[in-house]
């Protein structure tokens, strides 16, 4: 997204006070706030905001100490959301995540089983090191993410709205972990990687968070209602035929056996992106359009979210992995070739 598109005129106008302008302002403010707290991770912050307002879940991958938990706490504080944290271990049980029925005695002496909600019932759930949980626990969590409800003892409990799961995983120390299967990875809208900050960012970080935790003192600039309103607004963003076709072409370009795929993808990709990825691309691009102050999607919005949407949804061939290729490099060439068509 270039600078000229960012500089959208938002001068007083008969329609300037519309919901789009308001949402645009809110999102800009939120990004600026998080940029001040999470220093040097501008792209990560933007993608995180995009995923939250698109109603998706995020898998964050990064080394320990890069501020993943800090980011989740800051986001929850800035949006005024109720948040919870689950530290995954191999002995974590599904009931520890979704909740359990306990035998409770009321004041009158009557004893009944009562459902005690687990941490998944928070609006923003930080699931730390999700790959350390057993597949059974992972499955329970991911079912809740998908259905946005928990069924226990025959009773369905709706999860709160907005609901967003930020799961983290460590790319190293994979011993004793349970990597997420592809079907469960597909439930995450974005997979974000946390890069190591630049030197300037590290220096700025010392000024911001050496003696205090800025997320603890962060004042919310919006509430859950605002989040829901903006989420609803993003669904009304216009999508032209050209952008629809471009989004479809992007997904097709990742397919190894499709005629529309380019040679790089067909050579290295074993499994391409799913139709769910197409929906995720468009939903995320709509949020990106609102963040840019537009009520219509552009190709650049699609391109901006293509990599985080697709990087965990493709599988490379074994030969390509042995050659040292990773999903990001392969997708970069795919996206570059796709972008040149438009």
């Amino acid at each position: 997204m270039d600078e000229s598109q960012q500089a959208t005129p938002l001068t007083p106008d008969p329609v300037a006070d519309s919901a789009y302008a308001d949402a645009h302002r809110k999102l800009q403010d939120l990004r600026a706030l998080l940029d001040r707290v999470i220093v040097g991770q501008g792209e990560l912050v933007t993608h995180l905001i995009t995923a939250v307002f698109a109603g998706g879940h995020v898998l964050i991958e990064g080394l320990p100490g890069l501020g993943k938990t800090h980011l989740a706490k800051a986001l929850a504080a800035a949006l005024g959301l109720h948040w919870a944290r689950v530290q995954c271990t191999p002995d974590l049980m599904p009931a520890d995540v979704t909740g359990a029925e306990i035998y409770a005695t009321a004041a009158g002496g009557a004893s009944t089983f009562q459902f005690r909600p687990g941490p998944v019932f928070a609006q923003l759930v930080l699931v730390d090191e999700i790959n350390r949980a057993t597949p059974r626990t992972q499955s329970a969590l991911l079912e809740a993410m998908q259905e946005r409800q928990v069924t226990h003892a025959g009773i369905t409990h709706r999860l709160p709205s907005p609901f967003c799961v930020l799961a983290t995983q460590n790319p190293i120390e994979l011993e004793g972990t349970y990597p997420l299967p592809e079907a469960q990875l597909d439930r995450f809208m974005f997979k974000l990687t946390v890069p190591f900050p630049a030197r300037g960012s590290l220096l700025a970080m010392l000024d911001v968070s050496l003696d205090a935790e800025p997320a603890d003192t962060l004042q919310p600039i919006a509430g859950p209602a605002d989040v829901l309103r903006i989420m609803e607004l993003c669904r009304t963003v216009l999508l032209g035929e050209r952008c629809k076709g471009a989004a479809v072409d992007l997904i097709v370009a990742t397919q190894p056996d499709s005629s529309g795929s380019n040679s790089g993808a067909s050579r290295h990709i074993r499994y391409g992106a799913s139709p769910r990825a197409l929906q995720a691309v468009i939903r995320a691009a709509r949020v990106g359009a609102v963040m840019a102050g537009r009520s219509h999607v552009d190709i650049d919005d699609l391109a901006a979210v293509a990599l985080p949407v697709l990087r965990h949804r493709i599988l490379l061939r074994l030969e390509s992995e042995l050659e040292g290729l990773d999903a990001d490099a392969t997708l970069a060439s795919v996206i570059d070739g796709w972008r040149r068509q438009f």
């Binding site: 032209g240 102050g293 537009r294 009520s295 219509h296």
Partner: protein
């Protein structure tokens, strides 16, 4: 208001796209013109003469069709909007707005459409400024240069007389009635033809004289030298122009035209001059084509074949008596015998060049023959 602003952008973009189309058509037409000129030159040189006006008509037709093609392809509204989106920072706003207005999509939210109109209208001045700043090179220099070069070449080539093989064949082919064998009354023979004709006539006269002189053996050598001179006059170095042979035949009615290949003519001339001269080989006859009328050569051959038996018989007898095949032995014998016998000279062919040893042998044979007489 927004509509008028959008219209202004659309008009400007359409004008720009039309101009691009015309420039592209002109570029294609320039390349096509250069190709046509090249083609005309090739055809003119290789196949048949090409008239300049034909080439001009083809070029004008090409330009007309290309300009018509460019003019008829009027950019549509969607194409203009798409181009503005791509190149003028429209961010898909113009094409999306056009789709919504044309009713291609069900507008989910009128507020979104109004915001889109507002956004696009606010974007138009920026897009118009970008359009004004956008300089696109016409890329006409190379095709223009090619056309200029081809035009210059074509102006030279197409004004040349037809040099195509077909044209030459038409000139060279004898007509069935034999009219073409005679020079046209209004056509003036070229200077080279006249000189070749004179040479041929002179060589014929001198050969007749040399035949008369050949009756006596004492004058054979002189006659041979004269023949050498004659041969040098007759044989012209280098290939003869194709048109001269016909003219020669036409000017000499009654004599057979020498239609033998060049090698055959060369061999005949070399044999005649070498036999008769006896002491030198006519190198010039090898290099050129003899234009001696065939009748003269045939008469010379007849006369030579009549002479050959007596000479051969005498030489064989002398060879048996005096010479051995071995040349050093022959030299010893010559020293011992002051009156060496004659021997058969080596056959004078073009393929055998006279080495100094053989030349000495021939001279010795001639000297002995003279002394014996």
């Amino acid at each position: 208001m927004a509509n008028s602003i959008m219209q202004s952008l659309q008009i400007a973009v359409r004008r720009r796209l039309l101009r691009r189309q015309f420039v592209a058509a002109a570029r294609l037409a320039l390349w096509g013109s250069a190709g046509l000129l090249l083609l005309a030159m090739v055809v003119h040189l290789a196949a048949r003469p090409v008239r300049v006006d034909t080439v001009l008509v083809a070029i004008v037709t090409l330009w007309t069709s290309m300009m018509a093609w460019a003019g008829l392809r009027r950019p549509s509204d969607s194409a203009c909007a798409l181009w503005a989106d791509r190149h003028l920072g429209g961010a898909s706003a113009f094409s999306t707005l056009l789709e919504m207005r044309e009713g291609k999509q069900v507008v989910p939210n009128t507020q979104a459409l109004r915001w889109l109109e507002y956004w696009a209208a606010a974007r138009v001045p920026h897009s118009l400024r970008l359009l004004g700043e956008r300089q696109e090179s016409a890329r006409l220099s190379r095709p223009l240069l090619s056309v200029l070069v081809c035009t210059a070449l074509a102006s030279i080539v197409l004004t040349l007389p037809g040099t195509a093989p077909s044209a030459r064949q038409e000139l060279a082919a004898p007509s069935p009635s034999g009219v073409a064998d005679r020079p046209a009354p209004d056509a003036e023979p070229p200077v080279s033809t006249v000189s070749a004709l004179a040479s041929a006539l002179r060589s014929a006269e001198s050969r007749r004289a040399s035949e008369r002189r050949d009756d006596s053996r004492a004058s054979a050598a002189r006659s041979g030298k004269s023949d050498v001179g004659t041969g040098s006059r007759v044989a012209q170095p280098g290939p003869a122009p194709p048109g001269e042979r016909t003219t020669l035949g036409g000017v000499l009615p009654g004599t057979a035209v020498d239609t033998a290949p060049t090698a055959g003519a060369k061999q005949t001339s070399g044999a005649a001059s070498g036999r008769d001269a006896g002491d030198s080989r006519d190198d010039r006859a090898d290099a050129g084509v003899s234009r001696v009328p065939q009748s003269t050569i045939q008469a010379q051959r007849r006369e030579s074949s009549e002479r050959r038996p007596s000479l051969q018989r005498q030489a064989d007898v002398d060879q048996l008596a005096t010479f051995d095949d071995d040349l050093p032995m022959h030299a010893t014998t010559e020293r011992q015998d002051p009156d060496p016998a004659a021997a058969t000279p080596p056959p004078a062919t073009d393929a055998t060049a006279l080495t100094p040893t053989r030349a000495a042998y021939v001279q010795a044979w001639m000297k002995a023959s003279r002394q014996r007489r």
